[in-house]
């Protein structure tokens, strides 16, 4: 019995040990497994759990807007919708009817819609970017017809309210709202913003359980840009560019307006251009005509080239030989280096000037004869500037070309800026130096030319051109301000003042076509050959101007590329466009005219209202206004006048006063276009017509280019006709 007890005790002990060992084994196994699951596979399993249990929905950020300097919206985004279908959820019997109805509603091709419905997937796009009204119609339509397979996905669309306005500057966006050109591309990161996220728990059916778990990561809307552009000045500029493009049948006309003291770009445009709301459509008639009759790959290639041409900002991407506008730089260098004084005399011979084995002729066939350096700017005398180049020498000349920023990009905040092709000092022999000195051979961008000339007239400081002045956050707070940047001082203030005087004299002289009564304007014309063009007659006609000449606040450069017109010269084609721009722009920016006595004498005055006055009263009033008078009829009371009261009449014009009900005398308006000022005045005067001259009427050889009342119209004697004159003197 004792043995049995001993045995059972032993067994019990062993059982206890085995039991403990088994339990330990169990725990160890579990521990190892836990370690494996939580440490080795922990991350992967956690991720799987997150993917299974959580759902994230992306929140698209709002794209920032683009404003002009006065807060006018140039580009902004709004919500639109994309219509999608789930083809697999459409019953076979429903497809044709649904395709018919949806294609009618969305104005799509039936076959295309049907083809999409017959696909074997869950997602097909029917139409992108439909607006609110259309989306509501789709919603109502689907609810009415029970089309649960149609979905509306929120999207965003970019709007440009001004259409083809500063289009090369603003640029446009793509289907995914990414910037593709212009400011939209350059500042795309800032404009886009940061997407947000909503992470929430989902149950076994895939439904959200926001109270179980939800975390919101807010989207950050994009920043907005305040540009330096002025919508009004941009409009004035584009109006003149469009008129010049049509009038001169040019390949392109471009213009840029800058504040010479700060480098802010106030307006910039290239015609032909495009509408950013529909950038892929060709707007220019010439480009459209070039695509007619083409098919297949030829058409695709030509279309792509045409699109690239219209998108390209020719002011920063195209090079040109600046011509005589460059003489401002040469003059600045010569004066600063004191190799010439303003009263030094030169002689411009018809034989030209010979440098090495090359003879440079002046643009004026017979030469200018004797003139001093100050006058050489107005005369645009090539031999004088060839001489300046020789006096400076290649090294010094090139150093000024560099100093004026013509050998490097300006750094404007736009993509696509091209660098210039300029002769370096060691590449310039005497002939190349002579040619470069008067604006040929070197190729620069129009922006570089304007920036350099602004440095010449603003006191000598080269300013960096820029298009954006402020960056705003989504609440309208200023995130960043971009201040004007002075790159370097190029010339002294004294030299700059001399240049201003020279350029002012250029505009004031007859034949500039940029003179505006009451305003002090400086400017320089330029006409250059396009040496690398297939067409030997291809030219670029340009004009640079700034005002007021004693305190420049605005500078403008307009250039006409390959004009097919009655002239090729900058002073004839580009200068009038600049003048018309400044006539509107200067009062807008607050520069009011201050007339000299001589200028006042040429303005028009308002006709006094004399109807009902006695003859003696009328005489006194007419005398006080300095008008001449012709009386018609018998009587003591004024019955009517021609022109009538309140209308305009030139100073010293003739007023026709009717003293009874005599029939109004009439004449037929003659042709005045093509006549010189004196011829036009005599022709009109002979018929008793008052002539009001505008434009360059001081140049004796100027000709009338337009008259406000057409030839052959029957008009009353005393009627005022506006006649615009333009000098066709080939001033380069």
């Amino acid at each position: 019995m004792a043995d049995t007890r001993k045995l059972s005790l032993k067994m019990k002990k062993r059982m206890r040990v085995v039991g403990v060992l088994l339990i330990l084994l169990g725990f160890v196994t579990m521990g190892v497994r836990l370690f494996y699951l939580q440490v080795i596979d922990g991350d992967e399993l956690q991720q799987k759990a997150v993917n299974q249990q959580l759902r994230d929905i992306s929140i698209a950020p709002g794209r920032g807007s683009i404003y002009d300097r006065n807060g006018n919206i140039l580009a902004a985004s709004a919500t639109v919708w994309t219509v999608t279908i789930s083809p697999k959820d459409i019953k076979e019997s429903q497809k044709e009817e649904a395709a018919q109805k949806l294609s009618e509603l969305l104005e799509l091709d039936y076959e295309t819609v049907l083809a999409k419905m017959q696909k074997n997937n869950y997602y097909e796009v029917l139409k992108r970017k439909i607006e609110y009204d259309e989306s509501e119609k789709v919603k109502a339509f689907c609810q009415e017809n029970g089309y649960s397979f149609v979905s509306l996905i929120e999207d965003s669309k970019r709007y440009y309210p001004y259409g083809n306005f500063a289009s090369a500057v603003i640029g446009f966006t793509g289907v995914d709202n990414q910037g593709l050109s212009g400011l939209e591309a350059y500042y795309d990161d800032l404009l886009t913003g940061t997407s947000g996220l909503v992470v929430s728990a989902k149950n076994g059916w895939g439904q959200d359980m926001p109270f179980q778990y939800e975390k919101l990561y807010s989207a950050t809307d994009g920043y907005s840009l305040v540009t330096t552009l002025d919508e009004t000045l941009q409009h004035y500029l584009e109006k003149q560019l469009e008129a010049a493009l049509t009038e001169h049948n040019a390949k392109a006309v471009s213009g840029i307006v800058m504040n010479p003291k700060t480098g802010e770009i106030l307006a910039m445009a290239s015609k032909s251009d495009f509408d950013p709301n529909d950038p892929y459509t060709i707007l220019d008639e010439r480009l459209k005509a070039s695509l007619e009759g083409l098919e297949g790959e030829e058409y695709t290639t030509a279309l792509s080239n045409a699109q690239q041409y219209q998108w390209r900002n020719k002011i920063i991407s195209d090079l040109y030989e600046p011509g005589s506008v460059f003489k401002v730089v040469t003059a600045a260098a010569a004066l600063e280096e004191k190799v010439v004084t303003t009263d030094e005399q030169f002689y411009c011979s018809p034989a030209g000037v010979t440098i090495a084995d090359h003879t440079f002729h002046c643009w004026k066939a017979g030469g200018h004869g004797s003139l001093n350096f100050f006058e050489s700017m107005t005369a645009s005398c090539n031999p004088v500037y060839v001489e300046m180049g020789q006096r400076l020498g290649a090294e010094r000349f090139y150093s000024y070309v560099q100093a004026f920023g013509l050998t490097e990009k300006t750094g404007i905040d736009l993509y696509g800026e091209t660098n210039s092709i300029v002769y370096r000092a060691q590449q310039m022999g005497p002939v190349e130096l002579g040619s470069c000195a008067f604006g040929q051979s070197n190729k620069i961008t129009p922006l570089q030319m304007l920036t350099a000339n602004c440095a010449a007239i603003n006191g000598g400081k080269l300013m960096k051109p820029h298009l954006v002045s402020k960056i705003l956050d989504s609440d309208g707070n200023v995130y960043k301000t971009i201040e004007p940047t002075e790159v370097r001082t190029v010339i002294s203030a004294e030299t700059s003042q001399i240049l201003c005087d020279m350029l002012e004299a250029d505009v004031a002289a007859p034949g500039s076509n940029c003179y505006i009564a009451g305003y002090r304007i400086g400017g320089k014309s330029g006409t250059s050959e396009k040496l690398d063009s297939d067409d030997p007659d291809a030219r670029v006609a340009s004009f640079f101007a700034f005002a007021p000449a004693d305190d420049p606040q605005i500078a403008v450069l307009i250039f006409v590329d390959e004009p097919n017109s009655y002239s090729q010269y900058g002073a004839v084609l580009a200068a009038p466009a600049v003048r018309r721009f400044l006539e509107e722009a200067l009062p807008y920016i607050g520069v009011q005219p201050v007339y000299t006595e001589e200028e006042l004498a040429k303005t028009t005055i308002s006709v006094p209202n004399l109807v009902g006055s006695t003859l003696s009263q009328a005489k006194a009033t007419i005398n006080s206004k300095g008008l001449k008078v012709t009386y018609v009829g018998e009587g003591d009371t004024v019955v009517k006048t021609v022109p009538s009261g309140g209308n305009k009449i030139p100073q010293g014009g003739t007023l026709v006063v009717y003293l009874d009900d005599s029939e109004t005398k009439t004449v037929t308006m003659p042709k005045l276009t093509g006549l010189t000022p004196s011829q036009a005045s005599a022709t009109a005067g002979a018929l008793g017509i008052n002539i009001h001259m505008t434009g360059d009427s001081t140049t004796k050889t100027a000709t009338a280019v337009s008259q406000s009342i057409a030839e052959g119209t029957t008009v009353s004697v005393g009627t005022v006709v506006d006649v615009a004159f333009q000098a066709n003197v080939a001033r380069e």
Binding site: A78, T79, P161, Y162, F165, H235, E238, K239, T604, K648
Partner: protein, 155 residues
Amino acid sequence: MAQNTAYDLSLFEKKKKEQVIRLEPKKAPRPKPQRRFGAVRVMAVAVLVVGVLSLALFSRAQLTELSAAITTAEEEYNAAQSEAQRLQLQMDAGVTLKKVEEVAAAKLGLVKQGDYQVNYVTLTTGNAVEVTEEDNSILGQVVRFFTGLFGGKES
């Protein structure tokens, strides 16, 4: 065996413990009080629990509905705001300077202001200097003499 008195072996005998019988009063268990309305109370508690649970569920449902309504309202607000922006842009597109000029000139027959509508007034009449006449009396000459001696200016 004669008792050994030298050794009292009885001392080494296990002494029997005297059993002392103590009487202790034993507390009788309290009789359980008879519970009145026991079933009713259970029912009431059950109803309360069900009620609280129901309220909790109901409030959770309300919350979910309200959240959904807020989300919908926010979406509608954002869509309306965006639509207002789009319409504003559409309106701006209709009143650009270009369109205003076209309508003003073509439809309304308006023209830009001419210089004949502005009266230019000359304000400056030229510089003029007033010179006081010198006092040539004896007193005036004496005053000028003494003023000049001390380097002063005449008043």
